[in-house]
Subunit: 132 residues, 3 copies
Amino acid sequence: MPHVVIQYTPNIDADMDALCKELLAVLIEQKDEHGKQLYPIGGTRVLAYPAQHYAVADSNRDYAFMYINARIAAGRSPAALAESGDAMLAVVKRRFAELFDKQLIGITLQIDVSPGQVYDAKHSNLHPLFNK
Amino acid sequence: MPHVVIQYTPNIDADMDALCKELLAVLIEQKDEHGKQLYPIGGTRVLAYPAQHYAVADSNRDYAFMYINARIAAGRSPAALAESGDAMLAVVKRRFAELFDKQLIGITLQIDVSPGQVYDAKHSNLHPLFNK
Amino acid sequence: MPHVVIQYTPNIDADMDALCKELLAVLIEQKDEHGKQLYPIGGTRVLAYPAQHYAVADSNRDYAFMYINARIAAGRSPAALAESGDAMLAVVKRRFAELFDKQLIGITLQIDVSPGQVYDAKHSNLHPLFNK
């Protein structure tokens, strides 16, 4: 974790690979109150999914929408989570500044702290790469 | 919000664009106890995703499944949320009445009130269109 | 329920249809403390979605990631849920044993007990097939 999923209408003309990379980059740069790495690098990922079918707002025009959800394991401070959200939001605002002038688009960014989670298992050969 | 996501097996022969539009339409028609707009039009969207791979029930036949999840921000009354669910369910039942006679299909519709949410940001030029 | 969704990077060379089927099979085999069927067969499904765009870890190499999430209705014991998680994890570990030697991949498996759920409706002709 974080596990970031982007669900969006396919009428958005954006470089989604670059957006994924940039969101990932700001997440793995985050530090906690003691200046330590906030998230494990080997467990951080961003996945983006254009919808096959969609309808937005009053559906009278071809509005665009992008929903960014980050699921994060419990244990971080509210301040650190808010900073992570702000850092991702800054990426989004910068990346879409130009598009906002040309397209009708809504973007929502939310962080959930693993709601209702009762089981958690990891099976990975990525973590050892970054825990040296 | 509401943020509605439909995850379904691709063996369903339905007009998914029309389903998205109709679910959207009933959501933006919802009123609260005082007759006021229950959901902001500019923040309401429905996104549908056929699965690339799937397995359902005992997987002995090509069963179909459709899962409809609406994520809604906190603050609405239980009665209003139940009415929203009933209104969406009515759309689904009407739309799939004919298909139910021909295909083995399960449909589940659930509403979540933003579980575990710790961060929420909106960046949109849709809201101003509808808040006049 | 269970509603299992697999979100993964498309650079994973695995038989995803077979994985879906096998996860489904172990779920419908689960029993409760009294030896009774833990999950309704007609409501159990696994849906898999390769991401269109993604970024993982430090994104310096083409890392793979697979996130498996099972959403389960409330009412099962913690022990039964843990056993379900362990059974799915065993499938994953066996299936990916060979791949782990060749590819850098992270797999996370989590179970959520319907977080924040306020509305739940089923419309299905699958359940009657299995409730005889």
